[in-house]
């Protein structure tokens, strides 16, 4: 065998090992059932339920699609499982009461530690803590820019978006927002970010180059607060989970004008979007179901019963 074909062969084996074929499954953490529901993304049917640990909340997938991570809040750890075989691969320490996290394109996990006013960077392969960054009180939402250069951590009781530079892991900006910032997300080009402020009832748009808020709108009422937020792949449309409003709200991503409310289940909390941008899934805590939204029509095309208090969603596509 010639040297070049040996190299080629090893490369193709490596590629196979590194990039698992997507299963097309949708994984949902059920906070009060201590489980993960495994949904077939084509049939919208639950095909398995994994007993995962006490109070699972945040969920994410490795960039190569080979591992799904779940924050087990009551057990202070993250569990990794195989999205294909659904077998637990390993678990590692995640600090006290782990909740929301995001997975960086380089594979590292960025997690907010609510009781310790810090964010922690963990290598999920080794469980090694790479960095700890002090942020404001009650850090909650974590968003990572698609280019991997910036991480936003929201601090709910300090009312700020902390922008963390990667790989330096220092804070490059602190942006004061409305009361109790909950979630953030970046546009595909990493130039803008959106965030929700729960008590302030606000949705806002930030220009990441200047660190300035360039648009802001009020949303919800005294009981219905904006929760999770997502932006469409083309950057034109914003989706906000409306909590007890029982709607996913559709906004013009530029003007933040409210275009439509999509009725979903009760107390809608978490959102996830497919890679092609054509579907959005919402976790509806009180009605214990998932709504599947077609983003071309902005309509619910399926409702899937899952465990109690579905919290986080990740798609292996």
């Amino acid at each position: 065998m010639k040297l070049s074909s040996v190299v080629l062969l090893s490369v193709s084996i490596l590629a196979q090992a590194a990039f698992a074929e997507p299963t097309g499954r949708v994984f949902v953490t059920n906070e009060k059932s201590d489980s993960v529901s495994v949904i077939n993304g084509s049939t919208n049917k639950v095909e398995a339920t994994i007993d995962i640990g006490e109070r699972p909340r945040g969920i994410g997938i490795s960039p190569d699609g080979s591992e799904v991570y779940v924050a087990i809040s009551e057990e202070n750890k993250i569990v990794a499982f195989d999205p294909q075989s659904l077998k637990i691969i390993r678990e590692f320490d995640a600090g006290e009461d782990p909740e929301a996290f995001a997975v960086h394109p380089n594979g590292n996990i960025y997690i907010s530690n609510e009781d310790d006013a810090k964010a922690t960077v963990i290598n999920p392969k080794s469980g090694e803590i790479i960095a700890e960054i002090h942020v404001g009180l009650e850090p909650e939402g974590v968003a990572i820019s698609p280019d991997g250069k910036q991480v936003i951590v929201t601090s709910e009781s300090t009312n700020m978006l902390h922008v963390i530079a990667v790989p330096e892991h220092n804070i490059s900006a602190n942006i004061l927002v409305g009361a109790r910032p909950r979630a953030a997300t970046f546009t595909t080009d990493s130039k803008f970010a959106y965030a929700t402020a729960e008590i302030g009832g606000e949705v806002l748009k930030v220009d990441m180059a200047s660190g300035k808020i360039i648009a802001k709108t009020s949303l919800g009422d005294d009981k219905a607060k904006p929760k999770d937020v997502l932006v469409s792949k083309d950057g034109k449309t914003l989706y906000v989970a409306g909590g007890r409003m029982n709607q996913v709200m559709v906004l013009d991503a530029n003007t933040l004008e409210l275009l439509k409310g999509i009725p979903v289940g009760k107390r809608v909390w978490g959102l996830a979007m497919s890679k092609d941008g054509k579907r959005i899934y919402s976790s509806n805590g009180v009605s214990s179901d998932i709504s599947v939204i077609n983003t071309e029509k902005n309509e619910v095309i399926a409702t899937i019963k899952v465990g109690k208090f579905p919290w986080g969603i990740v798609i292996d596509d």
Binding site: E114, D115, A117, I133, H134, G136, L137, E138, E156, S157, T158, N159, M160, H162, N170, I171, S172, A173, N174, L176, G178, A179, R180, I199, G200, G201, D221, D222, K223
Partner: protein, 262 residues
């Protein structure tokens, strides 16, 4: 510092070399004055508020203290009786006096321009209890502003932060002390000022404060902080007021004197 100087002087700008990662170069010193018993829960609450304000201050460029004299302070945090509050109000007309402990209804109807009552009035508590009784005629629940077992709206996080630091449970006056300092620091960063009179104006007209009670809080023209109350029976939380079903839960003005007598 001199007592003849304008209140603005009390905010001294000090340039500090800060650790990498906290990207502010200048820190504004904001000195508050605490009047009252420093062995009280009200004081411990104010200390908690100061510590939390300083966490934000690390990022936004402020440092708060609680031990200025009333003359040299940006605002006064007072755990005193009604008569002492009136005197403080009269002798410091251009700065905020936070009332942490005096529940007297008369203080609200007097509409002292510079007093912000964090603690609810007796009338607010009476109204909360009356609403509760309409739905629960046999209940003996009493209204409180806070409770150490309060968990909703991230109240549990505040309760655990306080008890961890002070080895004691957060009560109504401790919450009031915490809220007073956080309202002040929130107004400093949102109003972008450390001038006493400007802060007072901001607090009275522009406040949108997260008191970890689930709804944005602001101030009536009487000086009273609008807020939901808890109904406590056998040292447990039985409900919240405004009472759902009796009125809208957002109808905070159903509790106590809603505005100044004409």
């Amino acid at each position: 510092m001199c007592s003849k100087c304008s209140p603005m002087i009390s905010a001294t700008v000090i340039t500090m070399a800060l650790l990498a990662g906290n990207s502010v170069a200048e820190t504004t010193e904001i000195n508050l004055s605490f009047i009252g018993d420093t062995n009280s829960l009200a004081y411990q609450g104010a200390q908690q508020g100061r510590d939390e304000a300083n966490i934000q201050g690390r990022f936004m460029g402020q440092n708060y203290t609680l031990n200025a004299s009333p003359e040299d302070s940006t605002a006064i945090v007072a755990a005193v009786d009604a008569e002492s509050l009136r005197k403080l109000s009269a002798s410091h007309p251009n700065k905020t006096i936070f009332n942490l402990t005096a529940e007297d209804d008369a203080l609200r109807s007097e509409c002292l321009a510079n007093v912000v009552h964090i603690i609810p009035s007796k009338a607010m508590k009476r109204d909360a209890e009356a609403q509760w009784l309409q739905k629960n005629p046999d209940s003996s629940a009493k209204a409180q502003t806070w409770h150490p077992t309060f968990r909703k709206y991230a109240a549990s996080q505040l309760n655990s932060r306080f008890s961890k630091t002070h080895s004691v449970k957060m009560d109504d006056t401790a919450w009031a002390g915490w809220a007073a300092v956080k309202i002040l620091s929130d107004s400093v960063v949102r109003g972008q000022t450390s001038e006493a009179q400007t802060l007072l104006n901001f607090i009275k007209s522009d406040l949108a404060f997260d008191g970890q009670k689930g709804i944005s809080l602001n101030v009536r023209n009487t000086g009273q902080l609008r807020q939901p109350l808890l109904l406590i029976e056998n040292d447990k939380i039985a409900g919240e007021a405004p009472v759902r079903g009796v009125t809208k839960t957002s109808n905070l003005d159903s509790l106590g004197l809603a505005s100044c007598p004409k």
